[in-house]
Amino acid sequence: MDDPTQLLPEPASPDPAMPGRKRKPSSPHEQQLPSGRHGLPRDVVVANQRERIVGAIAETVTKFGFAASSVERIASRAGVSRRTFYEQFSGKEDAYLQTFDRAAGRLLAAVTAAAGHGDGVEDRLRRCLCSFLTGLASEPVLAHMCVVDVLTAGPEAIALRDRYQRSFADLLEEIAGDPDGRPLPPLAAEGLVGAIYDLAYKRIAQDHADELPDLLEDLFSFSRSVLLPASPPTV
């Protein structure tokens, strides 16, 4: 996988089982290795199965919700047996948490890297927000699983989401704390991250994740007003 924000397999043909999604990954089943004697090393087979399960849990949770996403349903979608599923994960909560952690970790890494390429506080902030919005828009199924379905995935999932929100707030504080920046009001970054989460939640829940990048300029000007209030206002 070359794209650090990409978790799911590359999209192939449209998936008729999931109407309404703007962009869909290929079915995890399509990533299945040939059956029988293929001579592939065990670790390759295990990694392939794991990728398929990870893809399947995102698709299944987004389509059916967390509660109705049984291990049987996830394993079937992934094209693996339940035994294989349990060889890799202790249960669906474990599979969900690992998938969430991996996806959110990659998004955080991509956003951090984007901010690192910026020149000055405002450019860093803009790149950071752009990377976040495009990262969610490019993976709508995963975005739904991580932003919307997390509310129903149990307290450990909520706690994991909260930790990532804190990490995003730390990044914004670090950006705003650049030498040419000003001291940040208390809770400004954390409040802003919560607001951005609400903004993303609403669009993703309505299957409008593809519209998120269009919000960049408005989001940037608001974020600048919060984090860099001394900046001269522009349109």
């Binding site: 919700g65 989460y197 609403k202």
Partner: protein, 143 residues
């Protein structure tokens, strides 16, 4: 709405009635204020007062919403209608997305303080928080 999880419909209905009262008050408050920021200040103040008077509603609005899709949906609908009201009532209203972000930011910040204190803030402390956020904001100016 996919995945509603809150199990007590009567509590949800009471919460919705609280939000409806806040919305009704906001119609007058937004129209009477000298600026949109002052109008939103009075609206948020009325909302917090309503929540303080109804602890179950306060719990849903600030605590349960972060982990419950059903409550989140109710709160989002209320925020969206308030943004429409602001746009319809005030010629000086900020861009809709800025109003959305401002209301969410005020909510997130109050929520964080309530969760940290494990109790509702008194009205003066809450007011200080949202007044600072509202009046600190600089709207983008037309070129």
């Amino acid at each position: 709405m996919r995945n509603p999880t809150y199990q007590d419909p009567s509590t949800l209905a009471a919460y919705q009635r609280s939000l409806d009262r806040v919305f009704g008050q906001s119609r007058e408050l937004l129209a009477a204020a000298p600026t949109w920021q002052a109008g939103l200040y009075h609206s948020v103040r009325a909302c917090y007062g309503e929540m303080r008077a109804h602890p179950d509603a306060l719990h849903l609005h600030f605590v349960a919403t972060a982990r419950d899709a059903g409550v989140q949906a109710i709160r989002t609908r209320h925020r969206d209608r308030l943004i429409v009201l602001l746009e319809e009532t005030r010629a000086d209203a900020p861009p809709a997305l800025h109003a959305e972000l401002m209301l969410s930011m005020i909510h997130t910040t109050l929520r964080r303080q309530i969760v940290e204190h494990e109790a509702p803030l008194d009205e003066d402390d809450a007011e200080q928080t949202f007044a600072r956020l509202l009046f600190h904001y600089e709207a983008p100016q037309a070129a």
